[in-house]
Symmetry: C2
């Protein structure tokens, strides 16, 4: 599996060592070789991308003509956007979502839409894990993770409401970067939960995701090979540690030791009670808002929803407003508390998932180690490179301080280089 | 002008003293009498509403079949939704916005779409002020305010990003209630600024708006005639007091004295510096986000935007991400500071606008006394009842603590009853 390195490719494009068209053809060849078995794309238009690749001035822009995949939960004006649902088959949004417009403005070529589970919920998709085709790629950003992991794309956009960026990145063995809440605008995606839906990026390495975030948002995030110096890293196993497999524990321990060997100050950290308790607020907020976000589909198109989602939304309509309001207050207090925690650490390191990708396709895996960090809105990064004894990727999750994405990425860079691949 | 009292009408409907159809015909007569001169509706479908009025079980629901107007910036599945823009003329959204679905679920009949300025920005609309047809109704929720003020509707939904609920309510002499940020979901409206856009309600009296908010959200907000007991009210003239007309100052003074006479503890309050400074953050956040929210229209449909909006968005694209990030931090600190202020007061009372409705239609008036409270996300209520010497409405604005809408409404109720109409 040859991953495509977005930052290196962009450097080559900027320097004229290659062309957008040549990179695109490399992508086309990878798609030809892998897509039939991986099924990462919900829509693909290489010819349109070829035409766009030939436009003048492309390589002067930050993304320099890099091919980008966009999760099919996000609106695109020139590619169908079905949100993973038969209800929206063939749907053509009028407008690009802002994140798509920003990507194009930065010189990214949107070559296709990547598979999402139905409305980015739990029903498994057709996508397969490129690292082992008999295993789940995770969800809900299955196609984005798989396309990068299969070497079919250097860069893909995904979304996370509970664990939909970190989890598939961990299962497929690539970098998944969930930035601080709203660093990438969520407007123009099919909303599941407006206080939780977060736009994220998939790329080969931490530096590739950081480069892309810088290019898309115009912010100072392109850290390159810069690593944090002697960062204080709190190892957080959480109250749910018992649900993590031996492999997940081994990966977390290995990452901690590797970071320590590279100068990081590593110590175990028990989360304050307010933070552990906030974990339970995430599904309440997610589901209460989803029942409203899908009120129209529930009222008029119920038969077009999967039984799994319809039943889930039905139950969600029973959540009382007071319960929701209380969960929002719990989340607010937890965010303040997390600020205190970050007075004493530079980053937290925890599980990305309870274990490696599950075998088969009955489930997309669990978001139990992600949802708290989505709720808190702080940056989180899946760091790839560790594996089970039989070669399945196991990710670890680096969590940073709200709004301090550059620092989080710099610590993640250290971790990534510390973990021998 | 006979205003329609939503809460009283609903009580009559619940008790069987009238029927949804009878109320609807009352609305139809008012529309027949006033709409040609007021022009509050962008779309109206009374026949569809008549059919809906006859459905079984309607009067058992909270809104009991009350006619409702929905600002044409908000998606409706059965009425065209043009966002006040020629670009979207005839646009038919697939889905009801959640707030519309919630309104229908509560037994509200959506009879029409009320006029919005272009994309809820500043270009004046065709709507006239029912209290004086030569004067502006304000903006951007012009039609919602005017329809209620003209007695054509008991209830209308609007939105505010700077001052688009409070200002038109003040100019038209009705209650405008901007709830705590996201109490009413903003999903399904044409986004201008995701951190500022706030859904609000227009009704005759405070208790009518409170009743509607309770009915739509299922929260404990139906205060009826309940008033706050001896509330501490800080009179806030702000650093911009010099821009308020003598009439606005007189109205604020009159409201303060009236409240005092009813037992309120009233005192002048200077806002802490952090709050005054935050006022300048609102336009930065609004415009930076608008440039992204309209990135697609700017790129592909620029000629279809008004010159006013196009020029504004062009300038907005020049706002640096760092400037925006700094404005967001300023807003966050100001929200914390406002929490401290509310340790010592129960409500703030300030101007709704610099004066009564401007004559003519060159401008929709100024949001200068509203934008800070939109930025801070706290509940704000325009209280009607005061007038200039020659009979134009002058509103005063009651501002409450974030998330404490019931208390804010109860103080507003006291104010409203204290102000003799």
């Amino acid at each position: 599996m040859t991953l495509l390195f977005a930052r290196d490719l962009a450097a080559d494009l900027h320097a004229g060592r290659t062309t957008p068209r040549a990179v695109l053809e490399q992508v086309a060849r990878a798609v030809g070789a892998r897509e039939s078995e991986v099924q990462a794309f919900a829509a693909l238009d290489l010819d349109r991308a070829r035409a766009a690749a030939d436009q003048a001035g492309l390589t002067a822009r930050a993304l320099a003509g890099l091919p980008v995949g966009v999760k099919d939960i996000i609106d695109t004006r020139d590619l169908p956007t079905a949100y993973g649902s038969a209800l929206y088959a063939g749907h053509r949004p009028r407008n690009d979502a802002p994140v798509v417009a920003m990507t194009r403005r930065a010189g990214g070529l949107v070559v296709g839409k990547t598979v999402t589970t139905e409305f980015a919920f739990l029903k498994p998709s057709q996508t397969r894990n490129p690292r082992r085709l008999t295993h789940s790629p995770g969800g809900s950003s299955a196609g984005s993770a798989a396309a990068v992991a299969a070497g079919m794309l250097p860069l893909a956009i995904g979304t996370q409401t509970a664990g939909s960026v970190i989890r598939p990145a961990a299962f497929c063995g690539v970098t998944g970067y969930k930035p601080t809440f709203r660093l990438l605008p969520t407007l123009g995606m099919k909303t599941f939960s407006w206080h939780l839906d977060t736009m994220g990026l998939f790329a080969a390495r931490v530096r590739d995701a950081a480069f892309a975030a810088a290019a898309i948002t115009g912010r100072d995030l392109d850290i390159g090979e810069e690593t944090a110096e002697r960062p204080r890293i709190g190892i957080v196993r959480t109250a749910r540690a018992g649900s993590a497999s031996a492999e997940a524990h081994a990966a977390l321990d290995a990452a901690a030791r590797a970071a320590e060997a590279r100068g990081a100050r590593v110590f175990d950290l028990d989360l304050p009670e307010e933070l552990e308790a906030a974990d339970a607020a995430q599904p309440i907020i997610q589901d209460f808002e989803a029942a409203l976000a899908f009120a129209d589909e529930l009222a008029y198109d119920r038969a077009g929803l999967s039984p799994l989602l319809a039943a889930h939304l039905d139950a969600a309509t029973q959540i009382a407003p007071d319960t929701y309001d209380q969960a929002r207050r719990t989340a607010k207090r937890a965010r303040q508390k997390l600020g205190d925690v970050f007075g004493e650490v530079d980053a937290l390191l925890t599980f990305s998932a309870p274990g490696p990708a599950p075998e088969g396709f009955a489930t997309t895996g669990s978001a139990m180690f992600c949802r708290l960090w989505t709720l808190l809105g702080c940056p989180a990064i899946n760091i790839a490179g560790l594996e089970t004894a039989d070669g399945l990727p196991v990710g670890v999750q680096l969590v940073g301080r709200f709004g301090r994405d550059r620092q989080a990425l710099a610590v993640a860079n250290l971790l990534e280089s510390a973990i021998s691949r």
